[in-house]
Amino acid sequence: MGCKTSVPCNATKKSERCKCLLRAALLIQRWYRATMARIEMRRRYCLNIFQSIEYADEQAQLQLSNFFTFMMDHDLEMTESNFSLAEFERRIDVPDSYYGPRLKFPLTVADANALLDAFKKEELLHARYVLQLLHETRRVLKEMPNITYLSTSYSKEITVCGDLHGKLDDLLMIFYKNGLPSEKNPYVFNGDFVDRGDNSMEILIILFAFLLIYPNDLHLNRGNHEDYIMNDLPKIGSDFKKFILQVHGKVILYLLEDVFSWLPLATVVDSKVLILHGGISDTTDLDFLNLFERSKVREHVHVGLLLSSLKNLAAVGPHEEDSSRDPTQKEWQQTLDILWSDPRNQRGCIPNKLRGGGCYFGPDITAKLFERYNLKMLIRSHECKQDGYEIGHGGKVITIFSASNYYEDGSNRGAYIKLNPDLIPRFIQYQVTFHSAHSPPRINTVEGAALKALREKIYANKTELMEAFMSKDLTGAGKLSVSDWAEAMESVLQLELPWRTLRAQLARLSADGRIEYTSCFYDLEIEKPVEEPSLVETLCKYRKDLEMIFNFIDKDQSGLISLEEFHHTWRLFCAHMGVETDDEAIIKLANTIDYNKDGYIDFSEFLGAFHVVHRLDKGK
């Protein structure tokens, strides 16, 4: 048992007793520490799973976002987004039957409270007011510099919040604990207000409303997600979608994108504390960042190349190339760096390959920037932290993250910073939760969610995975060694995860210690293969994208698109995906897709179409 200490005792019996107690205690301690370590390991790899999938998805979403931006640029309806407040009022009627908030511009605290009440009750804001709000927000933001300089004079404490990601409950929690924004209660929201959570629009509306009421005390910094509006579309509840987006959806989205591009890039407090969303690089130039026209940077990656190839292929008609509206390489690079970078402990600055944008910056980079601009602290967000915040680079870099339970109920706390005039940060943590926390079960919920997300991804890549498995299974036994299986998983899914550690949750072992690889695709609880695997697999992979595209083409949100609309959009989509298109074949295809021959394509016909083309293409 490894008991090394001797216990001074008088009688032999007593000594025996002492030794026994000692051994027992030691054994329990040993066991306890081992158990806690294994729980910690599981917590870590859950986070790994979520992060890998999240960042991998983000890259795919970036591409789709570019595609939609291009499509919107060519739509003539966009002129609507430049109406004045009065024109919106004249053109859009709000019926008497609407009981939601009715905003009056200029906004007052009463309007803000009405909005908060409405959203707490899950009510909606009418499209006219959304448009007016966005219009006014854009007007106000345009007048702001790229970097806002604040001061804590008048002994004001400034509250800094991190990513909210559409989680309204967390914003309400912050307001509950810390009070609503006002001249006496200034706030900085550090980007990523949208995506993932269910209430992105509500959060934006609330933040913009307070911005209009207290423009000198409510500050918004742009995050890397203030760009992906199209991706949020399916997550907006279907009622909201029908009601709000029926006629005005695309205008709202276009205006939103414009507003996002006008969000300031950074805030500086007392000339000493720099607040921005992602991080810095070794070339970050705050003077440059403060001067260029920030709204030019609208897409973040692979801008020029993709857009120009789409424009060539689509041939949508003569279109003025306004290249002065495109950002220069430096403008684009500098913005990307501050919105996407992450700090790390190693010195130096290397490209951030996990994210596909920005860089990893070390403590020496931070020190250099601080010296150059006489700074004391960098507050950033962008990364989920278990405690809601994290301090790095010897106290110089603080990460603040305000969306609790970001990945799953129980995954992390949220936090905000109170910065006093001495510029010493105070951290307030919270967690929005609906049942009491208890250590082991909580891990199970988070782990369950992580594994579910991972299994979905596995399922969506079934064809490629089976190909990889079978190519390693030379005897056709249906089994692979653990390491062959792990290799295949990693190379197809492109996720760096501890596959051997996860193996028990993902695949079955046969008696000879090898993995039965088809068991990856079974629901391990039910142990039964799902019917029609290939259609389901395709749907899993492209479902979100296809739903977005369908909704976009379906202008009147009737659930049907005409064959010409389909054809037109299909060509653009194929160009984006890099698939060859053949006009005649597409028309024929469109007619085949219209299964019930009513001249229109509904969503299930649409999915079927995509599935067919995807498989045809694979066969080439």
């Binding site: 026994c20 027992a24 030691l26 329990i28 040993r30 370590a37 550690t501």
Partner: protein, 154 residues
């Protein structure tokens, strides 16, 4: 792939979960978690011996995978630090339960865990109490506790 190579891969995977900067090093304070998550149950003393083998001559606070891998491989091959079977664990609790009532009082638990063997830190003690104690009676029903804490083997 041979057994040794397979073991090395498993160790590397576990190591990488804690390797935040993807540079083949981990904070020395995480080594305990890594070793234990690989299915080993060392005492603190044994862990310190292990650390001495994998640390640099001039301790930097970081452990390199290069040094860790051969040592850990040997540990796994030799099956050192075997886990505690559930029944042995139960006997250990029963040994502390002098009155044989099926539970330990908070005072008893704190006394044994912080004064005997390799004492818990205050944090460890608080963590255990928060999960183990029944708040109404302030006692730990150890049989139930063991069932609650059994972590599935992966």
């Amino acid at each position: 792939m041979g057994l040794i190579a397979e073991i090395e891969k498993k160790i590397t995977e576990a190591f990488e979960v804690f390797d935040h900067e993807c540079n083949q090093t981990v904070d020395v304070r995480e080594i305990g978690s890594i070793v234990r998550s690989l299915g080993c149950y060392p005492t603190e003393a044994q862990l310190h011996e292990l650390l001495a083998e994998v640390e640099e001559e001039e301790p930097t606070g970081y452990i390199h995978l290069q040094k860790f891998l051969p040592v850990m491989t040997r540990v796994l091959v030799e099956r050192s630090y075997q886990p505690t079977p559930e029944d042995v664990l139960l006997h250990a609790f029963e040994a502390l339960d002098v009155n044989k009532c099926g539970y330990l009082t908070k005072e008893e638990l704190v006394k044994y865990m912080t004064e005997e063997g390799e004492p818990f830190t205050q944090e460890e003690m608080e963590d255990m109490l928060s999960a183990a104690l029944d708040p109404e009676t302030n006692t730990m029903r150890y049989k139930d506790y063991i069932t609650l804490m059994i972590v599935d083997d992966v």
